[in-house]
Symmetry: C2
Subunit: 310 residues, 2 copies
Amino acid sequence: MNRRIGDIVTQTFERLRPKAKSLIITVYGDAILHHGGSAWLGSVIKLVEPLGLNERIVRTSVFRLSKEEWLASSQLGRRSYYRLTDLGRRRFEAANSRIYFHVSQPWDGRWTLVITNTADIDSEKRDMIRRNFGWIGFGQMASGIMIHPDPDTTVMRQVLADLGVAEQAVVMTGGVEAGFSTAALDTMIHNCWDLKRLADDYTEFLDIFRPLWQVLSASGELDPQLCFVVRTLLMHGYRRALLRDPMLPDELLPANWPGTSARLLCRNLYRLVQAAAETHVMSVLETAEGPVPEASPNYYTRFGGLQAGD
Amino acid sequence: MNRRIGDIVTQTFERLRPKAKSLIITVYGDAILHHGGSAWLGSVIKLVEPLGLNERIVRTSVFRLSKEEWLASSQLGRRSYYRLTDLGRRRFEAANSRIYFHVSQPWDGRWTLVITNTADIDSEKRDMIRRNFGWIGFGQMASGIMIHPDPDTTVMRQVLADLGVAEQAVVMTGGVEAGFSTAALDTMIHNCWDLKRLADDYTEFLDIFRPLWQVLSASGELDPQLCFVVRTLLMHGYRRALLRDPMLPDELLPANWPGTSARLLCRNLYRLVQAAAETHVMSVLETAEGPVPEASPNYYTRFGGLQAGD
């Protein structure tokens, strides 16, 4: 049975082909953030070794992530410690609220437009606006006009502030007038977001992780290290689809939306492996003051509620 | 005194330099529409002769207006009759409601967006949308996205239908969110509408017509033909500025907006000359059944109410 699990994990690796930097980001967001967000590099290297990452590649990745302001390093004696920056923490919190805490709620029919197509924003800044708003699910309706049917307005205001364009943005909220064609609205939605590609991504995610669920849910006790690997790959795969997901209200999605099944599979597999995965993280990860702190209480509210281990 | 009036009318001509076709449009909208909308070409030629238009140029103009679907012609014996088409009538009614029946009302803060930047509208059609929505005051927020703070929604729906894009448009209404910079909103308004140029147009209109008001309001009885000329020039000059005016709510306009004074001058001068001008129109204009009908009752509601002549 363990042999079979091992084969399926290997297949999962082969299908996902995760990049090192991206895996490190996933590990910081999924496994380190809720244990204080800071760790000795040596323990991070040991933690991610079963993910096929060697020391050199981890050092290169964390160095790059420092350049990109996700991480900041400090040196104590001969040891390097990498902690999340405030900006990195905010980026994770924005992403994590969508990954772990999404609750489907009735939609009030109000759209939000962020209008920044004013003369005094240069094209480079406009491109940053487009990308940053894309990360929080906004679609581009036209150059400098981003739209979302149900944004997290706190995150939206934070992104405007982080980009330094809060003073140059006009934010409008409103509804679509009745009495016009719904086909036109569908076309608008498909112009703003690539839902076809997103559906393909979710379908691929389901294809990759359904076999893991089948084999692991049928097993008895699970190996902590294996569970850490599975949880990390699961989050890596789910993030990849989800971070392109604008989280449109159900009312605006096509029928049989595969994102719904993907979320369910992700929740179930996460719940199955997380306690053992946490055991592994706690046994490996170290700060300058010794083992990392216990998971913050917030951790146990992921995916509608997790059970603490042992 | 009449000599002085004549000089000022001549100066007005020189400053306005009206184009023939544009004058004919003004005459159909201001003087013929409310007398049934149809007239013998010979009587139109006689009517506009004191505006400096000769027979040849009138024939060329009405021919062109037929090509542009404003007018349609019919022949009875050797006489040609030109009547407004349904489309021409709708265009005039849209324009006239803004010229004669504008009432400044408190604004509810709701903007209207007409979104047609979908894949299946070609650039030629997009350009038509931009121009036609421009005529009813909409500003272009981005290619394929027209905006107005307080549109006439009946006219808006009619324009969408006339352009054949009602099925491809998404219409949204909504308000600007509080807590953002009002400077950004000002910038947006100036990006969507050329208010500087419009203010210049209104100021020029005031410069041109104030002298006429001064001299005519101080005169005794006024010559009907002269009044027809003055009324036509007045409408020509006012239309020219007004038809570029998006009619933004007072709340969104700069302080000391010259459009307000222009409207007042236009109303007062119109009221002063219209009864005599109507006498002239009734004495010259002919249909196939003889003199044109009396002014429709709606005519007397222009500019908040006109007095019938004699």
